[in-house]
Symmetry: C2
Subunit: 201 residues, 2 copies
């Protein structure tokens, strides 16, 4: 699932920056695959619990996996939102040339963070959490920077462009938040702590 | 949890419309309560599965409940986002007077939809799903209407106000989406169908 939603965001970012309608369409249509994968995790969790009656850390890991699948499903939705924005403005680019660079950075961060998230899930190596937190902090910084740009008196591209880039930026930022939340899940599975959700924003 | 996140959204809407800083602050601080409730549901699910080894519909209901708690947690976050927006613009109102009425309608719909959601959870009466879907459709309509308003050439309140109301409107719309998703969960529990998430937007 991290590969699928990582590649969805990779393609969505390319579709956004290149105003590539076909690619945007592909991302939008492919999202159903993520939904099916998430649903499969849930069914499998149900089957394993029914048949094997796991307890303790094994049960905690199963329940955690189900929740992670749900976060990954949301990450897929967010990639789809980016692609829809690209499609909506096509043939115009949804991102003004002045902000291409910021969105390229956000796209790269999103890919990096989801790759690391996949590693954390696969290896349970909690030391990767530091990287993920740093990427997320950098994403938040770009998100805030973008707000400052569109709210500055120098912004001359109008309301529609301002809303477009604000929403897009929020999609990337939320995508990173979900990666952080997955990492926190892995922590609870490895350490046995209870998970208390916190507002990510 | 539906009562708590319903009352959070009720207060957040009032704080927003009245530019009431104290009330906004109260909503923001109270969100931790929702997080603790959600975490409690998860722990309780873990304990019940560990000790009673439920199978079939009972297990499906438990796993579904855990996922519903997670949606309710997100609804609490969204109420908090509304309150934060009110706090950020205080002492100015975050919603221009021209749009007060739309946000009042959105607030009322949010309250109505979460009340119905609580009823569905308590009674498993799937016929309430029709009301919830109607409220959600109405929320979507208001959300689209708001986009048209801020993008119209007649919009004279500038970029910041446009972004503020767009984000706020998105919070209400997402809040309703989560209520729909919870309702769909109840349907899967009652009917035994598998849940396949779909993108709500």
């Amino acid at each position: 699932m991290t590969h699928v939603v990582g590649s969805a965001m990779h393609e969505a970012s390319a579709a956004l920056l290149e105003a590539d309608l076909e690619l945007a369409q592909h991302v939008i249509e492919s999202d159903a695959r993520v939904d099916v994968l998430a649903s499969g995790v849930e069914e499998k969790t149900f089957d394993i619990i029914s048949s094997k009656h796991p307890e303790g850390p094994e049960l905690r890991a199963l329940l955690g996996a189900m929740r992670m699948a749900s976060s990954l499903e949301r990450m897929g939705d967010l990639a789809q939102h980016v692609a829809k924005q690209a499609r909506m403005r096509h043939p115009r680019p949804a991102v003004p040339s002045e902000l291409r660079d910021v969105f390229m950075q956000m796209g790269n961060l999103a890919e990096e963070i989801v790759r690391r998230t996949g590693e954390v899930i696969a290896t349970r190596d909690l030391s990767l959490g530091g990287d993920i937190a740093r990427h997320d902090a950098e994403m938040d910084r770009l998100h805030r920077q973008l707000f400052s740009t569109v709210l500055a008196p120098t912004w001359e591209l109008g309301v529609e462009a301002a809303i477009d880039v604000t929403l897009l930026s929020r999609y990337y930022e939320r995508y990173a938040d979900h990666a952080v939340s997955i990492t926190r899940r892995v922590v609870t599975i490895v350490t046995g702590e209870a998970y208390v959700g916190v507002t990510l924003d």
